[in-house]
Symmetry: C2
Subunit: 549 residues, 2 copies
């Protein structure tokens, strides 16, 4: 086998990762579960490789950790060490990291402990909270390859604005996480550090493009993480891995220093937001810590909207979108929505059914606007190194038009996007609906390589609605989710529908996968959407938080 130039280059990224793994916590291969073991979420507890205290720490929410450190019962150092140990284990099982930051993280934690010892105070609202960071969020003087072999040598000269703010709030960055080639798979494979697996079932993808974060939260390698989302890249992984994710309205969270090939592309704004294993409260903690620092004072693309504290309110109308009219969800996803409806109705929440509004047309707009240049820039990035396009990259590129659009065609689509946004908004208002509960994806998670239909999440990107993903508390059940005669006799509406329908051969294919829900609210109603999601989750899950499966 000849080694290609791009492989030599890609090896640098592998080496960077390999050299960064804190060796003292590596577990000999023979102590790891067999590669055929699908669900590895119990391994930290069962293996005895973490102490009981480390288990407790790593299974706490960020909010609880901060509280613990505020009372002096926990140190930032032991917290980050526990998460680092669990991250090394998780990485061995799931290949979710691109770089460990162990030394810096421990040094930072010690600094925070010093500060606390001296002042008796926490340095900020995220004091000592380990945060994992998707790789393309740039760290000063560190490589930032964004999943492209061509950029495996690129070092950035400033911390991303978001990282600066989180640092000031007391965060500790301990590990950087994997993403797919070109950042546009709902899966996480690239030609540098390879493929990331889903901790609940390693034959499944953790989702993407923030799939390293998905795996990290599913395995509890960090209490909070940073994902980015232009079509579902926060919510897909959060859903597939049983956790929480928040895609804010664009122009709220700071984007400077997050590196993508198409910097300056703004037909569809990518956003950055929090992900985590534990609670919606933690997502709010993150948002508040960032926005109370008024990032718009320095990053002028942001809107100067302070983060509001919302008193949760049960007097809301929620609509359930059972099906987007394009691709029918799989049985367990529908079961998750049924649970939601039953519980909410029983709790006296006003629930109606949501008739989707032209989602196929919406997909036509957003999928074309991802690549008005026919993905020319992305292909150029691949050509630069000679790395091959992965199948899911080709799939994403194929969303775009065969040839670059003219500027006029692009403007026309942007105009249609805005008209669609106003129409959808008017529909919510005329139907009296505050929030829409929907699937995150046709299935509970995709089998590796099969994540093709994104529009259960991308619809809210096109609309620029804030959206929250959280676990329903259910998982795939071999009995309850068996294929029925009704399901078998379904006549698909189109090729995408047929593909997803056929994939659900039975619950076995998705064994143990968590069932997630998604709540979307109107443009700029970020605080309201998080507050409502907290209430809805509480009702749907009888007050339980966290993955709970």
């Amino acid at each position: 086998m000849t080694i290609e130039d791009w492989q030599v280059k890609a090896q640098k990224g592998k080496d960077l990762l390999h050299n960064s793994v804190p060796k003292q916590w590596l577990v000999p291969t023979e102590q790891l579960p067999s590669v055929t073991q699908k669900n590895v979420t119990d391994f930290p507890r069962q293996s005895g490789l973490l102490t009981e205290r480390e288990i407790i720490i790593t299974e706490s929410s960020a909010t609880e950790l901060v509280k613990g450190m505020g009372k002096g019962g926990l140190t930032a150092e032991e917290v980050v060490v526990a998460f680092l140990k669990r991250s090394v284990l998780g990485h061995q099982l799931l290949n979710f990291a691109t770089e460990f930051l162990a030394e810096e993280a421990i040094a930072r934690a010690k600094e925070l402990d010093e500060y606390y010892k001296k002042t008796g105070k926490l340095i900020g609202p995220l004091h000592g909270v380990p945060i994992s960071v998707k790789e393309h969020v740039g760290f000063k003087n560190k490589t930032c390859h964004t999943g492209y072999v061509a950029w495996v040598d690129r070092v950035v000269n400033e911390d991303a604005h978001l990282l600066q703010l989180l640092h000031k709030a007391g965060a500790v960055f301990h590990v950087r996480t994997n993403q797919p080639q070109a950042l546009m798979h709902l899966c996480s494979e690239n030609n540098i550090t390879g493929k990331t697996h889903n901790p609940y079932n390693r034959t499944l993808t953790p989702g993407g493009s923030s799939g390293g974060e998905g795996a990290a939260l599913g395995f509890r390698c960090s209490p909070l993480g940073i994902g980015t989302d232009i079509g579902g890249s926060i919510r897909g992984p959060a859903a597939f891995c049983g956790g929480y994710g928040f895609k804010p309205t664009s122009m709220r969270n700071p984007m400077v220093g997050i590196h993508v090939a198409a910097l300056g592309q703004e037909s569809i704004h990518g956003v950055v937001g929090p992900m985590g294993p534990a609670s919606i409260e933690d997502l709010e903690l993150f948002q508040k810590a960032v926005l109370e620092q008024e990032p718009w004072e320095n990053e002028t693309s942001l809107v100067p909207l302070p983060w509001k504290t919302i008193t949760p309110n049960r007097d809301i109308t929620v609509a359930i979108m059972w099906d987007d009219g394009v691709v029918r969800p799989h049985p367990p996803v529908t079961r998750g929505l049924q649970l939601a409806k039953e519980k909410l109705v029983a709790a006296g929440i006003k629930v109606i059914d949501w008739e989707p509004y032209k989602h196929e047309k919406a997909w036509g707009i957003i999928s074309t606007l991802y690549y008005p240049d026919a993905a020319g820039l992305q292909r150029q990035m691949l050509r630069k190194s000679g790395e091959p396009a992965l199948p899911l990259s080709e799939w994403a590129f194929s969303y775009g038009p065969p040839n670059p659009l003219t500027h006029h065609e692009t403007w026309d689509l942007q105009f249609k996007r805005d008209v669609y946004r106003d129409e959808y908004n008017a529909l919510l208002k005329s139907r009296g609906v505050d929030f829409i509960i929907s699937p995150n994806y046709p299935g509970v998670a995709a089998v590796m390589g099969e994540s093709h239909y994104w529009n259960y999440t991308a619809i809210w990107n096109l609309l620029d609605f804030p959206a929250v993903t959280f676990p329903s508390g259910l998982k795939v059940d071999l009995n309850l989710d068996a294929v029925t005669e009704e399901y078998k006799s379904y006549v698909p509406r189109n090729a995408a529908d047929e593909k997803e329908w056929r994939r659900y051969e039975g619950p076995e294919r998705y064994e143990n996968a968590p069932i997630a829900l998604q709540v979307a609210g109107r443009h700029f109603k970020d605080e309201e959407t998080l507050a409502a999601s907290k209430i809805l989750e509480e009702i749907i899950r009888d007050g339980k938080k966290g993955p709970a499966i």
Copy 2:
């Protein structure tokens, strides 16, 4: 002479205008001033064609008119009739209108008077205020040609969102106003209704593209008007015609239903804002009336920032930009800035000199982003009817690149735009500057056809800073503004500089033109910028408002 097809088509626009003029107020040509009379601002008063009461009404501010109607001392009907009469006169002298709306306006005014009679209350904050409207702001069931012959038949099916809100606030729309071909001259000539003149000196342009509004405010044909601005189109005409104009930060005032060829172009956002002859208070009245109706509730591209009431504050630092480092201003413009500095310093305001930051580079970014398609769309619009491109259209088109940019090149410029915005913002903060006073244009106004250099206004569009134009109270003075030896011996920095320098052969060329100032504030500091401008104007003009020349 052969009549071309496009001329036949253009005639429809002329006919529309001609047929809409309320004939009862037309003045026989022989009673009008000679065509060689440059300054016609005194004509309404001197001619005796308006009653004393009509003169008082038409020389009142919108705020005063509303107050008068609120006390019952004025009727909306007599107000609109007075402005209609003055508008007909103004139109005969300046050719500023594209369509009169006399019947609808009078009917609407009667409705408001009825309402007041019945309830004793005003219907809203703009009760009975006649508002003139730039033609491309669409009226339901009316033609909207946007200065293109090709669109002279185009009828729109809904009132612009802004008009709906102003209507609810009580406004009366009485006349639609002229704009240049392709909307991109700092002048107002098109192939449909021709060229608009400056009431202070009819050899000068009223500016553009909201030049019909400029002439209207200079002649006091309306107490408030609606202009749009993507490079100076509100501020140029306000400055050239001795009035007031406000360009808000983008995404605050509603844009739906304002018709341009490049709908969906958003590299540089066009904005809509108020213009008027009387006061900054009137600009605030307009803004508050619009934003207190929460337009973002229906137009989701807007940012949900309620209009704040700001307590004016003298504890501000103001910087004066004497020269943008690219094109040197003419002597009277510099004299206006000198007056500002003297008065402000004497009043104890902290004033520093502003060293401009890379304005030439900024012009490179914005001028390319106006036409990333090499003005292909605009040229196509001209080809559709066969109308010739006017010289200033060709001039504007020549800003763009010779060939369409790729998407990647456009994104790259958008990225550079954002970096430049953040750098400029950081500079203001590091220099401790709250507001920048600058010229609006190298000269006080352009001689017809000579409006070539826009970057004293466009710089704030690129930065998306709110900016207010107001009169300094001075006008061109044949003695004070004489050409000096120093001026003659100036060595221009570049071709644009040389062109503008040579144009100032002496004050006679710009006789009687008002000298204006421009105040820009930071992104989204719209309320602060208006409040500060009010204080600054008060100091600079010793409390006088209005054109005062």
